[in-house]
């Protein structure tokens, strides 16, 4: 088990390294010109001025050198020269935002709690709601209730997510005022405001994703309810509740855990639509704002964060498998 985790962590580092190379490569060889974008923000921009900025940021250096500087900064920090100012960027230095001139790591630390709050709350809702609906449908399979639930979930999941989120925001907040239009407040400042501001985004993420969890857990439950060990549990004279929850659901949850791991990783990498529509300054919004500015350090940092969450989620899912199913050995 320990050896397994260490091996997987090493391979995770490798994956992240390759990801950073690719991100770097795309920007270096791609048609991006950060100097042009940066100097265009201020007064009139001459090609000479843009070239000067490119030069000062080191964009004219060989790619290996640029990458070496960036990678060194991750471990020991570095000083970034941006225009006329020199900005100190302590380790782990992922670069300095061209727009705000802050170290990217500080931005991420600042934005991350919002995304984390959103992801955990949303996942808690879609997991419990989805599996509950799935179990109910599986136990009543073939009945009108089951068909209504399957049909309903199909309709629900065919609505584009951004439309659902936008409609929820427009009607529930702006037109009917059921939910307050407060913006995100960190939990450390005011737990209540944190909760009220996130409640609607949680519900929207929860409802939209619950349909696929309902379908997955329904299918899985239908299968498990036909297993011999469920019949054995029944033959032992156990209560129906115990049969369904302790015997059937325990086995049916395994495939659900797989998709939960990946979904949760994607949520942690930033929910762009949700954050944008509900005005939450999370990591997704940070990424989407950085792209038109060609804010390379921010973009590469968010990509790396997303990659590391996907890698970690896979590792956690594998460990969870071995916790749920004693037959799984981690080697």
């Amino acid at each position: 088990m320990v050896g397994f985790v260490i091996r997987r962590l090493l391979s995770a580092v490798l994956v992240l390294w390759v990801t950073s190379l690719i991100v770097f490569g795309i920007f270096f060889f791609g048609p991006s010109d950060p100097g042009q974008t940066l100097c265009g923000q201020g007064t009139r921009c001459t090609p000479e001025k843009a070239e000067l900025i490119n030069e000062s940021l080191g964009f004219n250096d060989p790619v290996v050198q640029q990458y070496g500087e960036w990678l060194g900064g991750v471990f020991v920090g570095r000083t970034v020269t941006l225009g006329s100012s020199e900005i100190d960027c302590p380790a782990p230095c992922l670069g300095v935002s061209y727009r705000t001139r802050e170290p990217v790591w500080d931005i991420i630390k600042d934005r991350y709690p919002a995304t984390l709050s959103l992801a955990i709350g949303g996942a808690a809702i879609f997991l419990t709601l989805g599996t509950t609906l799935g179990v109910i449908a599986a136990r009543n399979r073939g009945t009108t209730l089951d068909r209504a639930m399957v049909g309903g979930s199909l309709i629900m999941s065919s609505i584009p997510y951004y439309l659902l989120a936008l409609l929820a925001f427009l009607y529930l907040v702006q037109v009917w005022g059921i939910f307050p239009s407060t913006s995100y407040t960190p939990i450390t400042e005011s737990p209540w405001e944190w909760f009220t501001a996130l409640l609607l985004p949680w519900l929207v993420i929860g409802l939209a994703n619950s349909t696929q969890y309902a379908r997955y857990s329904r299918g899985s439950m239908v299968e498990v309810l036909n297993e011999d060990f469920v019949r054995t549990a029944r033959a032992k004279g156990l209560r129906e509740r115990r049969i369904v929850l302790k015997h059937a659901l325990r086995a049916a949850i395994v495939p659900v855990v797989t998709i939960l791991g990946l979904d949760f990783a994607f949520l942690l990498a930033g929910t762009i639509f949700t954050e944008q529509i509900f005005g939450i300054d999370g990591i997704g919004r940070t990424a989407i704002q950085a792209i038109p500015l060609q804010n390379l350090p921010v973009i590469s940092a968010t990509v790396l964060i997303a990659a590391s969450f996907v890698v970690m989620a896979n590792l956690i899912v594998d460990i969870l498998y071995s916790v749920i199913d004693p037959r799984v050995r981690l080697t």
Binding site: R231, T232, A235, E240, D325
Partner: protein, 359 residues
């Protein structure tokens, strides 16, 4: 049921108090998308405490379905049942789910065929046995239940039971798993035990051990056993009475010795013929029963076995195709019932046997 006198001509022989299990004119049907499946039709049998009834038949003959009906394992929403099942004098066919639950695993227990699939893969063996105990002894502590589980594992011959109780089913060998399954079934001292092909998945030596264990436990616990199998060798060793099922119906019912030595129904005879004998010529081909099992959606007219029967010619007219024979005493009397139009089946069968051997 009004038909009990008709469907049960052996009644006179069972003079003692009512046997522990009485199944009377049991019919089980499953509505499906393709139509109504007639899984069991008009089945009647009895088992006394301390005795073993062997139910023999091929896949789909209704042997498991009828037993699961007694234990109440059919989903009432998907099953149509009629007839009567009395366990210890109490009717269970229309019993409420909560009362049925108190019976299951307590007075009536079941051992399943594939113990690897029948035990929960994610729970320790000891925990699964303790769970069965706890569900019928709500006042017992978890500790007591765990101790009971360990002592049951010891009782069924598992070495180092306190350690093995902490193992998962996949860490047991096949024979061990079946022993654990038996321990789980017997943890509440059931008076009636259904063993649904408990040795089919095991090799012969382990099979013999398990059969010995069941017989030994039956002597100690004095329970009635219904033993379901398609293996006539196992029947010969275990059963006092034998019920042969075909297409959801009883086709022959009598003592083990009578059925195995003087089968009266061509199907039973076919079953016996398909077993290799120790002293037979090794180059001689076994005689399978030709044809396929009957459809339970649209059962054949008349005798369900007639499409595969070699003796329809010995019955006058097309009686076999037209009329379902009743389960009636043969020439040996009421202790041996058969469902066959042949008047003296044994004579016809032995004649056929001689001719087969000579040819």
């Amino acid at each position: 049921m009004t038909t009990s006198a008709v469907a049960d001509p052996t009644a006179k022989e069972w003079t003692s108090d009512e046997p522990f299990l009485v199944v009377d004119d049991l019919t089980v049907k499953f509505p499906t998308a393709d139509g109504l499946v007639h899984a069991v039709t008009g089945l009647s049998y009895k088992v006394e405490l301390g005795k073993t009834l062997g139910i023999v038949g091929e896949s789909g003959s209704g042997k498991s379905v009828s037993s699961m009906a007694v234990v109440g394992l059919h989903d009432p929403k998907r099953t149509r049942m009629s007839g009567s099942i009395r366990v210890g004098g109490a009717e269970v066919v229309w019993l409420s789910e909560s009362k049925m639950r108190r019976l299951r695993g307590n007075d009536v227990a079941m051992i399943f065929q594939d113990a690897l699939a029948a035990l929960h893969p994610f729970y320790r063996v000891g925990v699964q046995i303790a769970e069965a105990y706890l569900s019928h002894h709500p006042k017992a502590t978890k500790r007591e239940a765990q101790q009971k589980a360990v002592s049951m594992l010891d009782r069924v011959g598992i070495p180092q039971p306190d350690q093995r109780a902490r193992d998962f089913p996949h860490q047991f060998s096949g024979g061990m798993r079946q022993r654990a399954m038996i321990a789980m079934a017997l943890v509440n001292d059931p008076k009636l035990l259904f063993a649904d092909e408990p040795t089919t998945a095991l090799d012969v030596t382990v099979q013999a051990q398990i059969l010995d264990l069941l017989q030994e436990l039956q002597r100690d616990f004095g329970s009635a056993i219904v033993f379901i199998t398609h293996d006539l060798g196992v029947i010969a060793e275990m059963a006092d009475q034998v019920l042969v099922m075909y297409g959801g119906r009883a086709v022959e019912y009598g003592t083990c010795k009578d059925i195995l030595t003087t089968p009266q129904m061509p199907y039973t005879w076919g079953l016996l013929e398909s077993i290799p004998e120790m002293d037979s010529d090794p180059t001689q081909r076994l005689l399978p029963i030709a044809g396929t099992p009957p459809s339970l959606l649209t059962p054949p007219s008349g005798c369900p076995f007639h499409p595969r029967c070699r003796f329809t010619g010995d019955v006058p007219g097309d009686l076999c195709e037209r009329e379902l024979p009743e389960l009636l005493p043969g020439i040996e009397g009421v202790r041996h019932l058969k469902r066959c139009h042949l008047r003296d089946s044994a004579e016809v069968l032995s004649r056929a046997a001689t001719s087969t051997r000579e040819s």
